[in-house]
């Protein structure tokens, strides 16, 4: 399974791709496969605030519901509306088309604590 090396990873299996102060996040392919078929993704309202360490959404699979935890504080700029109709995009392509939330980060420093691709690969193997 490929773990792209252009982003950061949390131990709760979210990925963060940074572009200036805009951060795109989602869950990893590993997490998507562990959760099995994803049936619904509950995402935050665009324009709402998120705070580091809190849940910004919920991911429902056939077997369980889990929180989407956001490592940074900021404002929700966009959510992936395509997931409402096609939650399976997360299973098919978690690192790209299965993205979940775009955040205007207030402070990027919490991302320094996260793993790079190599460390995350270790973490899941």
């Amino acid at each position: 399974m490929s773990v792209p090396n252009d982003r950061k990873y949390s131990d709760s299996h979210e990925w963060y791709l940074v572009d200036g102060n805009i951060v795109t996040m989602g869950i990893t392919q590993f997490a998507a496969e562990e959760l099995t078929d994803i049936t619904y993704v509950e995402l935050p309202a665009v324009g709402s605030e998120c705070s580091a360490g809190a849940a910004v959404g919920e991911i429902e699979s056939v077997k369980a519901t889990s929180d989407l935890i956001c490592a940074i504080s900021g404002k929700i700029l966009a959510v992936n509306d395509e997931l409402a109709e096609h939650p399976e995009l997360v299973n098919d392509d978690a690192h790209n088309r299965g993205w979940m939330v775009k955040i205007e980060a207030a402070d990027l420093s919490p991302l320094d604590e996260l793993m790079d691709a190599g460390a995350y690969n270790e973490h899941i193997s």
């Binding site: 099995t36 078929d37 619904y40 429902e60 056939v62 077997k63 369980a64 939650p87």
Partner: protein
């Protein structure tokens, strides 16, 4: 941890194994929804070897079973199986089991999680009576073949004719030199069979069966406990620990059809009283708006009050909508009643609907 005789096959087929009631069992192979749909359209093979298999002999066996089972099992012909509950004196459900009558013995198939409890319960009530019980769970395997293609496939594989085998009947046969029992029953809402065979022979039979599961266009493919759960839920079948618990009785669980109050059994008095007084709550089916899945324990609400709890939920692969079963106050149990289910801070509207949600056209 207990392992099924088929453990190596599951691992070889890439199954994801989970701990289920002390057994390492496959929850899925390719994907739960894929396995679910394959069962509804073709045929799936489920390993259900974790289920308890207790064999009873002795002249008092029939009387014992009649005493502990909610359903009349006293008049069973050889070759017949019956679904029944086993309850406490106060009606609390200890387990749901299937009793089968062989020529020289009875078989009780119970849930893996309740095997010790049911063994102890039967032993306790057999004290001083002529009943000998043998637990053959570990020395046998149990597999289910379910789906519209199950009967033709099994007939071909075992070279037998099942056209006269009615639902909830069984017959015995042999594969090589080993004996097996084949039951026309299952837990998916589809036609199909369940087979009990010696643990050794199942390894001989599996290459033929599972070998068919490798190709994309195979008719028989393996399916795990995940699909088994979503299939049984669509079919409105209760699951122990969800719709059935010691905390309520069989009538409340909406399983009165397997309770014969005109005979004496443990729990009969309590259930007669309950019936006379009227039930205070009941298991119902719910259809939710939208595509979110309700989980066990979620609150069911009406008019700002909590009036029940979800027992199981699924985003139905076959019906394409979100379904749940819930224990609700009797005033809110009528078909068509509008309720809501609490998802964290949000409420999702839900309507009481008929169970089963999915029924095979007959």
């Amino acid at each position: 941890m207990n392992q099924s005789p088929l453990h190596n096959y599951h691992v070889k087929l890439g199954a994801r194994m989970v701990d289920f009631a002390g057994w390492s069992m496959p929850v899925m192979y390719r994907g739960i929804i894929d396995e679910h749909n394959h069962t509804r359209t073709k045929c799936s093979l489920f390993d259900v070897s974790h289920m308890g298999r207790l064999y009873l002999t002795g002249s008092d066996t029939e009387a014992l079973l009649q005493h502990v089972c909610t359903r009349n099992v006293g008049d069973m012909a050889v070759g017949l199986s019956r679904y029944t509950h086993v309850c406490r004196e106060d009606g609390g459900i200890l387990d749901d089991v299937i009793v089968s009558r062989f020529e020289d013995q009875y078989l009780v198939v119970c849930n893996a999680s309740n095997r010790q409890k049911i063994t102890d319960w039967l032993n306790k009530h057999a004290a001083g009576k002529d009943v000998q019980m043998t637990d053959r769970t570990m020395e046998t395997a149990m597999i289910a073949l379910q789906g519209p293609e199950a009967i033709p496939q099994v007939q071909k594989l075992l070279n037998i004719d099942l056209s006269d085998l009615k639902r909830y009947h069984f017959q015995t046969g042999s594969y090589f030199t080993f004996k097996y029992a084949i039951f026309r029953s299952g837990y998916t809402g589809e036609d199909g069979v369940e087979l009990i065979l010696p643990a050794g022979i199942v390894k001989l039979a599996m290459p033929a069966l599972m070998g068919m599961g490798n190709g994309d266009d195979a008719v028989i493919k393996p399916a795990g406990l995940g699909a088994r759960d979503s299939l049984r839920l669509e079919a409105g079948m209760p699951l122990y620990g969800h719709e059935l618990t010691e905390d309520w009785d069989s009538l409340t669980a909406r399983q009165g059809w397997c309770v014969h109050l005109d005979k004496d059994f443990i729990g009969a008095d309590a259930m007669r009283e309950k019936k006379q007084a009227g039930l205070s709550r009941k298991i119902v089916g719910l259809k939710l708006e939208g595509r979110r899945t309700a989980r066990q324990g979620f609150e069911v609400r009406s008019g700002g009050e909590t009036i029940g709890q979800v027992t199981s939920g699924v985003l139905s692969p076959t019906l394409g909508c979100s379904l749940a079963m819930a224990l609700v106050n009797i005033d809110h149990s009528k078909e068509g009643t509008e309720l809501s289910i609490q998802f964290g801070a949000k409420e999702v509207p839900a309507t009481v609907v008929k169970i089963p949600f999915y029924k095979l056209a007959s």
